[in-house]
Subunit: 308 residues, 2 copies
């Protein structure tokens, strides 16, 4: 007899710490409908603009949880079926000096607020991003004691920002502590592979997740399985693609995104900031080859579906 | 009045050199049906096995060309419509000590010969790779004088190994010398993003390409535009995905591929070498995020379409 639980986000936690007591304890096979705050902890509100980007203390992602799964123990695999993801109706994309892939190119803070109508978000007239919602953060408590930042992902999951973790996907995480202690947050309504400006279309999320335990297999880090073709809403048509060719994958990534920004400005008439935002929320970075010494190729794929 | 030319591969060249005289001179708008040798220059033949992997001198990719386009001059963009690509009926995938993404894991040479039936290639019973053919090498002569290796890609194109350059795609290359001097080769019947073992399903290719010149735009490196959804034959179903999480994209790529090889061995029963080959010819590396300091995520996507 499995059950469905509800878990609100009135109280959240801002760090990974395996001493954080569970907010909910469930049996394997149970489902949880979780409400998650956005990554700004509700700071960004309708009507704000870049002028509202003031320096402020940030505590980390506000996470809903932890959820303890009865019987989970180190070495198990936590099997999470992502059943449903419902984003909020307001989103934001922002960058500050010093963050993102191209901090040297974008020294000024920038904010874009989005209205989300359930299917798309408009950057400007004629540029609409199809929504493919997922949770940027899903993870279990790390084995190491103490507080750990929510920013970097790690083998226990966390801020993975993997856009393919949409509804219908099953995520596998290695359990490090008794009860597993799962938490989630950082809802994204849409994102490109790379998340290059440092934010996606950030929003609140209501997530329905089902948890079970697997002892028939081992994983050493996050693994997952999808149940539909990838990116069905953006892979519906053509792509425009730029490349970065360099002896370092980071440098190649920067070159590819810089070429994409130039393209979006020159051919599509976007501002440079709009082009960086569009690259972050819709452009996918692929490693085309990583073996032709000394130069690797990273390609940046813009789905032309965003132009309607 | 445009024309269609034929260009054989009886004589090839093995280096980029803007002093190599053109084998063919065409007008903008003309089409060329080019025959291309495989990347081993015909060395690998039906019936060969890993036991035939002997050290040998390699001259570089055998390239068909150069083709001079009348009127092309430095600063122009060469516009190449990839109209048709017909792979041969025999393929190979090989790796030698010291090459590829994981040389430390695979110290022994390995060879897999493939029969190509026009739609798929079988790794072992139950594991069939859908063919999505493209040319690993397409490029124009570099501006710098002298001989340049065909192995690394560069801003003038070359060994880009970009799997999405399939028929229907338009490639843009910046012209560095009068006539552009286009050459191509290195046919691939199928490849994953990354080409991790250092070879794809390598084969001969008959390529039909149409060339024109663009002065209405500039590119500083290769760019291209697709005209259909990406990877239609492998993105038809589910994917199994492993991740690499590390402060360096190269290390993250290695971790993701090592996890994929473990998965393929443990869950799918492949040998380690078969798993490395399958990762090279069918698994796609994506940069999931490159901004969550200090850890980046590279994800390795295995299309389950290969299991029928």
């Amino acid at each position: 007899m499995t059950r469905t639980h509800r878990l609100d986000c009135d109280v959240v936690h801002y760090a990974w710490d395996n001493a954080t007591p569970p907010k909910l304890t469930i049996d394997p096979g149970d489902t949880v409908v979780m409400n998650c705050r956005d990554s700004s902890d509700g700071h960004f509100r309708r009507g704000m603009t870049s002028a509202d980007m003031k320096p402020r203390a940030v505590k980390g992602h506000p996470l809903t949880g932890p959820i303890a799964i009865r019987g989970a123990r180190p070495g198990d695999v936590l099997h999470i079926d992502i059943l449903e993801l419902i984003p909020g109706d307001l989103g934001y994309t922002a960058f500050n000096p010093g963050g993102g892939l191209l901090p040297e190119d974008f020294p000024e803070a920038y904010l874009k607020m989005w209205e989300l109508d359930g299917t798309a978000a408009e950057l400007r007239p004629g540029v609409r991003i199809p929504l493919e919602p997922f949770l940027g953060v899903m993870g279990v408590a790390p084995g190491e004691p103490g507080e750990h930042s929510t920013v970097p992902p790690r083998s226990s999951g966390g801020n993975m920002d993997i856009k393919q973790l949409t509804a219908g996907t099953t995520l596998y995480l290695p359990v490090s502590v008794d009860g597993a202690l799962f938490s989630a947050g950082d809802g994204h309504a849409a994102q490109g592979d790379g998340e290059v400006c440092i934010t996606a279309i950030e929003t609140t999320m209501t997530a329905t997740l089902r948890f079970s335990l697997r002892r028939d297999r081992k994983v050493s880090g996050p693994e997952f399985e999808t149940t539909r073709p990838l990116s069905p809403r953006t892979n519906a048509g053509h792509h425009y693609v730029t490349t970065g060719i360099a002896p370092d994958l980071m440098e190649a990534s920067k070159e590819a995104v810089r070429a994409m920004i130039r393209h979006l400005v020159e051919v599509r008439g976007l501002t440079r900031e709009e082009a960086y935002v569009l690259s972050s929320v819709a452009v996918d970075l692929k490693i085309s080859e990583v073996v032709d010494k000394p130069n690797w190729v990273v390609s940046a794929f813009l789905p032309l579906a965003v132009f309607g």
